[in-house]
Symmetry: C2
Subunit: 230 residues, 2 copies
């Protein structure tokens, strides 16, 4: 095996290559999440189909990347912090795939809310929640790529904001359902969209948790940080 | 390292031990899923709290088991089919954790549906769906432990049945919402319960997919088998 001659250089290169590929995966996920959110106000069937198609591609890409990580562990036998980094990367890829899938859910539900006469406040809150999730997603990606502990911790607080917005949206939609007798399915899909957004935020928090774990070798308390929650 | 003297025996022992631990994890998940389903008709706050608590324990157990698998790969450097088995086990544990979390969701929502006057047909379909998911879950566990390809394939068909039931329940609840103006939140939680059940079924299908992958070294088509879908 030629790389045994210069293990540290090639070893580092390989870790860097994995990290870069995860970064590229996140770029795609961010772009398509943004596209999905734009559909809330301005639906376009072609774009929706494109988002759904892309989430399948992300699934395959993520899957291959996970395999690459596992093979890396088997072949290179990384120790301590490197092993932990790769292990965390596997888990982060799994979150990335899920986020992409949740964006596809948003795209699908967007079609069904088009005929709903959404009250201004509700639409405003939904948009606000979506923007918040976008910011968290950008941060989550940077948290991993820069191994930024401070940013990772911020994500927990921001997620509380998203949870509050979700509760408010659930209240508003429930009231709307109690008043309206038509297009209830559309209103239910509004709830599904809010739920998908909330879950994306949870996934981003998990990415932050993971980063804390890599840096501190300590798994944050399951009670305080929402690990792996969908 | 003493095990290098008899690598095959100890190596096999370790794989078996991982497999057994996954089996034990599934036993817990099955038991608590059953408890969650019983809450639909007969709610008990103590049992609901117990289910939620247990899902946190399963999260920690699953997490430790995933670590064990990754360490096994790093230390033992398994090849080909063994590597694939451990890799698949990591993914299956991730499904198991999620199923446990979804059962906790069902327990939580069950409290909120207690005051809903659920029409007979709707309750019947929900119970039928829940029973179906229970059967799939038992099968999913055996599919992994016995590496049963035939059973794995059956899960795909059964999932279609669960999807049909979900669509029917969504129709019925939507109609109910259009007619009723009270306890809409309870009715929405009926939908959430059905959705959690549907997602558990999807996860079980993924366990089947994984088993097919281990046995055939071929990843089933993403279009035909729902891989990793929540």
């Amino acid at each position: 095996m030629p790389h045994k001659k210069y293990p540290s250089v090639l070893f580092r290169d390989r870790i860097k290559s994995i990290k870069d590929e995860v970064g590229e995966l996140f770029d795609i996920i961010l772009e398509y999440n943004r596209k999905a959110i734009l559909l809330l106000e301005d639906f376009d069937k072609g774009i929706a189909d494109d988002i759904i198609e892309k989430s399948k591609e992300v699934d395959v890409l993520g899957y291959e990347l996970e395999r690459k990580c596992i093979k890396f562990i088997a072949v290179e036998q990384p120790l301590a912090s490197d092993l932990m980094f790769i292990e965390s990367t596997i888990r982060i890829i799994s979150h990335a795939k899920r986020i992409s899938y949740l964006s596809a859910n948003i795209a699908e539900s967007s079609e069904l809310i088009q005929d709903v006469d959404i009250p201004d406040k509700l639409l405003y809150d939904l948009q606000y929640m979506a923007d918040y999730v976008q910011i968290m997603l950008t941060k989550g990606s940077r948290t991993y790529s820069n191994q930024d502990l401070k940013m990772a911790k911020e994500l927990g607080y921001e997620d509380n904001k998203v949870d509050d917005l979700f509760d408010s949206i659930l209240d508003q939609t429930t009231n709307l359902l109690a008043k309206k007798t038509e297009n209830t399915l559309g209103i239910i899909h509004l709830i599904f969209i809010a739920r998908s957004l909330e879950r994306i935020a949870d996934r981003v928090v998990s990415i932050g948790t993971r980063t804390i774990f890599i840096k501190t070798n300590h798994r944050p308390d399951i009670e305080t940080i929402k690990e792996d929650i969908e």
